[in-house]
Symmetry: C5
Subunit: 88 residues, 5 copies
Amino acid sequence: MLMGIVKGMVVSTQKDEHLIGTKLLIVQAVDSQHKPLRDEEVAVDAVGAGVGEYVLLCQGSSARNVFADPKMPVDLVVVGIIDKQPGD
Amino acid sequence: MLMGIVKGMVVSTQKDEHLIGTKLLIVQAVDSQHKPLRDEEVAVDAVGAGVGEYVLLCQGSSARNVFADPKMPVDLVVVGIIDKQPGD
Amino acid sequence: MLMGIVKGMVVSTQKDEHLIGTKLLIVQAVDSQHKPLRDEEVAVDAVGAGVGEYVLLCQGSSARNVFADPKMPVDLVVVGIIDKQPGD
Amino acid sequence: MLMGIVKGMVVSTQKDEHLIGTKLLIVQAVDSQHKPLRDEEVAVDAVGAGVGEYVLLCQGSSARNVFADPKMPVDLVVVGIIDKQPGD
Amino acid sequence: MLMGIVKGMVVSTQKDEHLIGTKLLIVQAVDSQHKPLRDEEVAVDAVGAGVGEYVLLCQGSSARNVFADPKMPVDLVVVGIIDKQPGD
């Protein structure tokens, strides 16, 4: 998984039906010192995360597991909000 | 998922039978400021996207979920058209 | 998916039994201007592609879908031959 | 798989229910000379690894296989503690 | 898939039970000219490969297919030994 910061939201009216009702967050992966890593990506929120929060991201097919709908076309999901870790 | 811009189309007459009838789009991943990221890739369209549109891309095995045919050999799909986001 | 050029073939006599009879191609990913991207990889041919051809590549678990044998240990497959696209 | 060093832990109180009770480790991938590779990532521990230990990491959907719960949203797992290898 | 050279072995006594009895090889991906690509990774051997051999590597979930045990937490497997190819 990756650590990341939520930077904003994406609004998409015309989208796959399985994505209707999801919250799409723009996230920036960071290391334990909060240094930005990689490029911005879009993650589906599964824990009620908001802009500026420090989160835990799950990638790939495992990311689908947090949703009841197995047809969800998602490859990155916010699976936790990080409280505290060494770099804080 | 990734944000991207549709740059063109790919035409392939001789292809796997499960891809017949799909629209193959050349896409460029971008960040929220529309800055190009990574290299060009090819995505299958699932939402009626056209050249120049700003889209949401799903990668990997989850990308297959938007199609009725589970044998579709696809690893990148346009799953939404982005209306508006912070960098716009 | 990726666009690529077939550069050669790999011969492997001692291999996993599910790969027996496959054609293993060395491929170079390229963009729509045919500029090389990433490093060389090896793809299994599913469409009768030859050296020098411009092809469409599917990555990951979806790549297995084009073969009847679900135990095929492959992660990259040539799923189409590209006819024509913007950079040609 | 990757070789890595455990650098710390992540604490997340608000997380997906399938992650409750897991130990989340900050890991740094390294080569056989212990030289850092790639960026820090977060792995779920499956073998009782601690900070400073030299470990074996499994990525992607295969990483879920070590847990009894098939709904675990994990993409990186510590699957072994490395005893000894050429660079030691 | 990737071409690679076997550089050594990893010994891990304390590991996930599904990995017991496997041979863990340190591999370096290479191109057709044998030039090193990417960083070192660890692959499970499925074909009896030894140090110095030039091999074919399968990544991701497809890599699990070569083993009888579907719970194997592996993401990279040596699926063939390469005899000969253009750069040799």
